[in-house]
Symmetry: D2
Subunit: 425 residues, 4 copies
């Protein structure tokens, strides 16, 4: 049922617009792979990450399974792809184990690209015949594909950034003269009963609904994310060596995995370097810190005498006033958080870094998962994960909303994650 | 600061009453070990459980470290005990690794009992001199010891119930004629802004504070916990074999650990048996189901077309009306949940089984951990655990409150945990 | 010192012959990769296997490090390759961890091929200037490269044969009409003091030396390897379910890894299939069984009322009379063991399958490892491995000798390993 | 068939003598436990070790199963003991998993002692009726029990020596004034064809048979085991940090387990201490080094420019001349290797420390395991283990023979193992 309203509104658009959007999203995925070799696209660097080729196949499988496959008499393009490119949909059937997605040297990259094309052709040919429910599912598929665009970047960064040569993914780009981060300010918000979540109009994932009221005490939110320089101060103060700052599980991780800094940071004789998608370079203290786990975000907040915002607080702030800036998204090509703009307002609330919240990922009151196999999309992960908000420099522009809920386990570091502090009044 | 108010109120009591309470709690711990051999008290059956002897030492260490040790010039009874009996207080120093508590054949049980006695003697001798803060800490120590009384029962049950002979811990007790469970009813509660959490008066753990307002939609709560018979129906319907009911992590557990029924259930040719602390015996379908993980609780709720209550909903219901029954606590000696009483009202809201809530364990708004090392008591576990409410048949009577928050990871099964369903209106 | 004699003999050859041999071996390695995609060559299917690209780089690194690098003033082609392509030579320096060789998407395949070419050019340019010791090391390098040619085949088979599509590596080849295996005969050998091992002339690895005397009791050796049909009988008799046939460690493997048949066998409704490098096809009972671990070889021998030969027995038999056949080597292109020839004699003693011996891999009396870092080539693995003899259909023709000692841990199954039975007289 | 000869000889002894020997051995086992608490006897300190109580039960189970159980109509003392005290005999049935022997708090120690007594009573009552085969098995049972006497000491040492208090097992004993180790001499042995192994007369385990000829080159054997002082020199020379000395698997262990010295050694500011069964005390450089793995023995030998002897060499030397000393066995009560005696001859060839040989544990030519379930006693372990010879200060005097073959995996350190060097001539 979800998305139907959206479809009805959408009826005023021509089918052509939908078609154009479909192909724009699909093409963007492929454009992300332009600088990658076939070898780069087949390897899986760790069980949590997936090979790029698998992302290419899986996003196509999604349209084939849930849009095309729902049509009477549909014959799959290749039966084996049902197994190979299913991610986690138990209702659809067995699948290649996640940790072994990287063994799939076959089908080769060319075949997977061909699969994409064949899916696209079939989608194009039926687009005009889709009913509202199928349009809704297609809509989900496009947002799903955008999520995988972000995952391609995170997974490629892990693949390239943890192999010995640390090769770059993008060229160096224009030179940005160093500039200082703006001072940390605090934005104040009033107590009240407020509505959060997505309303019935427009696209949203099922986990953003239903829109509902929450009671919030007065709070303050930092005017910008925590910077690399602030994390350097945490490191210098022994933050990674003092259990007083850490959750118990976090401290266990610090010790078992030897965390001494955010992921992709390396200490050399003359200071800290980091890997970004252009290669290794010195840490710029003015930039937002990224690749922090929830444990690190929480520990830093404690060190700073603050806390993380709840997801409701975050959402209230995100809609309370116009953001100071548009935010830095994947389309901007920098693929690393930028120094926050100077000025009075809430900076970088969208884009740059996903912001860990203090909220465990849970169903909203009255939550209804999508019907059918798509019901597994979000709901079955609502345990032991934390909500992140706002999108990042790896997110496609236009993909996130104030009500958008991302979620990862508290130990995850390979996502483009950062910290915005909160405190009471 | 917490507990100070309690102490001031308490000034009207004589010191003698506090002394009596101290010795009553301490004696109760030892009474729980009366039927155990020295061998039973030294072995650790799994990393999550602790040997009884360790519990005996640790609870004494708690008083020695935090009450006696805070006094100027205090000399420890045995330096090695600081290491051996520290549980997880990083600020206090190193400690025997949790998974290796079972290797401590020395000090022997007699020495640990002697340690208890020496701590008791010293506490008794200084009791009259303690200031309000130290009285507060002593108070924490008594509640802490009660928590370990429950852990002794859970850990002993695991030790005895997973070894081949399945020896009993208690005698058979009186014969209770079988009786049916009352039908499942639904209690209705109105929407509103309500206060939850402990106020400043009286004892409460830091995690129950501060008392604060929450906004709650109208909801219904089941009149009694889910019964073993209802779980039998879930099993018979293939509940443990169908991923549709399960959270993703839960389903992974079902498969990797081969769950087919609650912990301590065993299928024989002629039906299901369970181990309770008197030994193996047939499952009584009328009794509340216990030893369910959060994953199982959540899966059963989905199967039943309901959900788990939030902790706020639970707390609202627990204070909304007088409970139908007093609840079955450890002092009652049955050490297994009893069949719910017939009648109109909320049955077994306290005692019998800890009830999983849908709420992840998190700090209340404005949460302040205790000062000093005791700040590690609760706060550092506020991640990846779920809140349980209400106490169980393993809990000492009088230990729990409506605001009491217990917490365990979603996969934990060896605690005395059960399920109460909720749903919207 | 080793190889010097060989070189002296070799002096009668022209340098040109050595040069030709070098390029023939090097070209053969590349020819083995002709049907593989770049994706096939970068992925690592398990920690024990290596990516083809890594083999290509490592064999070149071997010549660069040990032949070119020994020359004064030598400047490496790329410093990072010292790290990336070192296999296990501690004396040479750090290296990419074995289990993470598959993460190296960079340098890309083209760069590694270029590296090969640059090494070849440099070797060619100095070949005429090499002294006898360096010639010896070059000789080792050529035999080393042949070993990796076999590993390329075993590792590619594992990569392709354990991914869902089971793609073939070679075309189907000519049709061979089915024919029966010859009946199992027993060849008798007398007791005596015999010489085994390589003498000082000609090339041999250090582990084949020194030639020395052993005392051997009379024994019998099977006229051919155990066939797939004989293993089918073992399976049918419950051999994989009865611990009586198995070494204790072997039985533990059977259970923990669920072995029910040799590696690459799959049971379907209508019988057993196997994967060979042309794809899936029915098991031919007449062919030698392959991809058996030592545990399975030993269990089968016990089932058959026989035992495995010692390596001395094997070597005695291998030189006692001319083999019945030339053996099936990698150059023959079938890449699977063939049905043994009919006739009176010792069949398939070379080629087809490596034959597990009952001998643990240990130094011969008076063993001297090669000098320098090459001393790590063989000696440091002389523990917890079993000796295999005779080469296989994955081995380059001409690579093995009667004294040749291959070795793998008893649980290894991905090598082209089979069984020849022995018994006393 | 084995032992029959022994029985025939034994016929001249009275049954009374056998009875006395049985009870002497059984009593000795119990005497070893005299200083242990019930707690000490139930705990399992690691998967490779067993609780003392389990040893007490298992050795009794052995007599019950293989001697009493072979008699028609025998009814077991307790059916559950068949499961609880079976070690590894697949043919006998299922068993408590080895790694969980330490969970058996029930049956309690008193019950297990009672079980011992009841088995003893039954054995005594049938002793006069046993036929030669059953006498043979009884004989095996007595030697088996002596093996477990040694294991009790090794396992108790691990239990006590790895818990924080490092409690002693025995009293301090008499003061032995320090004395220097004799200088290392070399004993020379001629080449030849020699017989090794046990002949048909007298008791021996199946793995010592058949007696057979081996061809041995001339060799030299060290006049005494390697001393702690010599190992200190190895440590000081960086032996534990230099891979050049180590087998590949050994070096991996050094790194993964952080080996820096033999097991039970601890470095303090003022030097090295070790734990022996009387507690912690300084390392005496003159004493034989013990608790070395095969990897360490082999690495030390390489460091010393020598090698380990083969088991044939060791056995030849052990019978070539009368030993210089009787050797220090468990009965002597010191329970630690003593400084070697001065004098010309082969010192400490028996007792003090088990001596690692370079020989992998394998069947002798023509090896026949015992019939029935006892066939699992030795043969199924003949893979991936190394032979040790000579007995130790933990071995009961009279238990070992020149032909006696002990065996452990190369990484084992908790046994009373040491090193005797060998070299060629």
């Amino acid at each position: 049922m979800f998305g139907v309203q959206r479809f009805r509104t959408g009826m005023s658009r021509s089918w052509e617009m939908l078609r154009q959007r479909y192909f724009r999203v699909r093409a963007r995925t492929e454009a992300l792979c332009a600088t990658l070799t076939a070898e780069d696209q087949v390897v899986q660097s760790m069980p949590d990450a997936s090979p790029v080729k698998w992302h290419l196949g899986h996003t196509s499988w999604f349209f084939e399974t849930f849009v095309l496959g729902a049509r009477p008499g549909y014959r799959p393009i290749d039966d084996s792809y049902q197994y190979l490119f299913n991610s986690y949909y138990e209702a659809v059937g067995d699948r290649q184990p996640r940790a072994r997605r990287g063994q799939l040297t076959r089908p080769g990259l060319d075949e997977v690209r061909l699969y994409r094309k064949r899916v696209d052709d079939r989608v194009a040919s039926v687009l005009g015949e889709l009913g509202p429910d199928q349009i809704s599912v297609l809509e989900v598929g496009l947002h799903h594909e955008q999520q995988h665009q972000e995952l391609i970047l995170t997974d490629v960064k892990h693949l390239l950034g943890t192999q010995p040569l640390r090769p770059g993914y993008r060229g160096d780009g224009e030179h940005v003269p160093p500039r200082p981060a703006p001072p940390l300010g605090w934005r104040k918000y009033r107590a009240g009963i407020v509505w959060i979540g997505a309303d019935a109009d427009g696209f949203a994932f099922d986990n953003e609904r239903p829109r509902h009221q929450v009671l919030v005490a007065p709070f303050q939110l930092a005017s910008r994310p925590v910077t690399a320089g602030e994390v350097l101060a945490f490191i210098a103060a022994g933050g990674y060596r003092d259990p007083a700052y850490w959750l118990s599980d976090g401290w266990a991780r610090v010790q078992s995995e030897g965390w001494q800094a955010p992921l992709y940071w390396e200490q050399r004789d003359d200071g800290w370097l980091l890997y970004d998608l252009a290669g290794m370079r010195p840490v710029d203290p003015a930039e937002p810190a990224c690749h922090l786990s929830y444990y690190e975000a929480d520990a830093y907040a404690r060190f700073a005498g603050a806390r993380l915002p709840t997801e409701a607080e975050w959402e209230i702030a995100a809609v309370a006033e116009p953001p100071l800036d548009e935010g830095n998204f994947a389309d901007d090509g920098r693929l690393h958080p930028r120094v926050a703009p100077q000025g009075d307002g809430l900076a970088q609330i969208f884009g740059d870094v996903w912001e860990w919240t203090a909220s465990a990922y849970a169903p909203y009151p009255g939550f209804q998962p999508l019907g059918g196999a798509l019901g597994e999309y979000n709901g079955k992960f609502m345990c032991s994960q934390m909500v992140l908000r706002g999108g990042s420099c790896f997110t496609p522009r236009g993909h996130v909303r104030p009500s958008y809920r991302n979620f990862f386990p508290p130990e995850a570091r390979w996502q483009m994650t950062g910290v915005r502090l909160a405190k009471g009044v």
